[in-house]
Symmetry: C2
Subunit: 333 residues, 2 copies
């Protein structure tokens, strides 16, 4: 299993600080997520049914069809590689590592693409996380369309993981082109909606691919309460509009704050800021000593900061940064 | 996708009767399930973590370890066939059809075993649903142990699906022998606990198998709210004791009632009664005309009746049976 953010129980034990004292900024999940009301009892007791309105709500929200609901985009990430004979799969690095892991495990050959000058000539499949996690790199629609058309010509696939695009402009999404063979777009309710616990995501692609994926995933992959909550969240337009505004404000504030303490982000999305710093391991430890947990990456040495939500969280972060600076725990250039 | 009970939205539309008027007896799920309290908000918002107490609660409840929590036993049913090279797999018929479907889809060769004189000599894997669904057939521990030992000798597996055993005597379960190579036992929170919407089940087996299965299933398969609810339900001993008594009483009452109207069950568990009848299709339709939905099987022609819960449900069933008898809709021998 790969390492991920969010393992707070484990971290709390390791640092000997009670779990409730921590400010967890280790994920790119909106921790001010959609407020879940009481779930009807039958959601717990009865098997979920496919025709419960979830897909209609998703089609309206994403403006795309055909769509398939899956148990988090992770379920699709794991199943897609099983739908092709072993082939050559282009991936970027660093990127959300579960993609490469899943394709490799299913017997495919990985080709690492150059971020600056990607050459996909030798690829049957290309996987793009857009915007990328953690680098926040955003590929243009024109570039993605060119790759799709090139890959589709030779029976290949372009997989675009848009887990972090929910908050952004719709003009950045490849959802509008889905339905054509060779293009697979992944979406998740985990990040923008802050419903990571639900395990609900969507795959937009051409009908034959979705049929094969559905058969591969089998029945009842998504829990019944999750289907009900997801349907309500997708339909709640007022919350979505307010959340977009709040996230943008917080993301800008985080960008400024980190910059003030020598951690200028190289890039960011509306859900996280990415800081490249040789001393990333020391920063992670120093922040953890102040009960703040951030995600660290090795290549390049970098940190990903999720967004604080309320004033007490902003203060905890600012005071920790100030203390690290004051006590010269880390020499900031 | 295979057909299953529980598709009530679809059935309601087909018969033109509003979904809320139906008495759904089409599943073997305890519809008087564990009462779910309000779930903490963080269960929806945060990714689930592995070290949250679910496994400890499950180990205490099942008295078995090692255990792996999975997103319903269905997740294990689909993944297990991917952990072996193509081989010969013995299955019984009729039985819960997802097993045979999953092994066949993964490229294995199915061998249908004779219920009365099963010969497993040619099998590398044998799958037993115990008690069986829908026939309620229960294999003895001695028989299962013999098969396990025979299969294990040649590197084979015995898979015992105990989804319907939660209510029964612990002396009927193979859980006590798990940990030894070659024995895989599946459990589910869907049936006895009536938490089918949750998608939580457990696999008990030897550590290497569980490690490979975990790797195959990937992270976060079970939703966070589901993990929280499952943990509470597994620890609620008073509810479990009361539920066992109630289910036994209802199952006996259903057995008597069906017998009084010419539908003597051939066998049953504490969660359903199984009625073999040439006229099963006509019975299913006649009951549906009274807004009662039962599950029908073709080979042999038979019906599976789940348990009514409250007096109004018992009356709806009895009045429907009386009306069908009175109006001679079906000629009962």
């Amino acid at each position: 299993m790969l390492e991920h953010g969010g393992r707070l129980n484990e971290v709390a034990r390791e640092y000997g600080i009670p779990v409730e004292n921590w400010l967890d900024l280790s994920t790119g999940i909106n921790s001010d997520g959609w407020p879940v009301p009481t779930v009807p009892a039958e959601c717990w007791n009865r098997l979920p049914e496919e025709d419960d309105g979830l897909l209609e709500a998703a089609r309206a929200y994403y403006g795309a069809q055909p769509l398939l609901a899956v148990a988090g985009s992770q379920a699709a990430i794991q199943a897609l590689p099983r739908l092709r004979e072993p082939c050559r799969v282009g991936v970027f690095a660093p990127a959300y590592a579960e993609h490469a892991h899943a394709w490799s495990r299913a017997g495919h050959t990985l080709i690492t693409l150059d971020d600056n000058a990607p050459n996909i000539d030798g690829c049957d499949v290309v996987v793009v996380v857009n915007p990328n996690n953690p680098t926040a790199r955003l590929w243009s629609l024109a570039q993605l369309q060119q790759w799709h058309s090139e890959l589709a010509t030779r029976g290949g696939w372009l997989v675009v993981d848009e887990a972090f695009l929910d908050t952004g402009e719709s003009g950045l999404s490849m959802l509008q082109a889905t339905g054509e063979p060779g293009l697979i777009v992944l979406r998740s309710l985990g990040k923008f909606f802050g419903l990571a616990g639900l395990r609900v995501g969507f795959v937009a692609a051409w009908p034959e691919l979705l049929g094969a994926l559905q058969e591969q995933l089998g029945p009842w992959g998504i829990s019944h309460p999750a289907r009900w909550v997801a349907t309500q969240a997708l339909m709640d337009r007022p919350w979505q509009q307010q959340a977009r505004v709040r996230l943008q404000q917080r993301s800008e504030r985080l960008h400024r704050l980190l910059g003030e303490y020598g951690l200028s982000p190289r890039a960011g999305t509306e859900l996280f800021q990415w800081v490249v710093d040789e001393q990333a391991p020391r920063w992670q430890q120093a922040l953890a000593a102040e009960a703040i947990w951030v995600r660290r990456f090795s290549e390049p040495a970098s940190l990903r900061f999720g967004l604080p939500v309320d004033e007490s969280q902003w203060q905890q972060l600012e005071q920790a940064l100030a203390k690290i600076q004051r006590e010269r725990v880390i020499h900031v250039a």
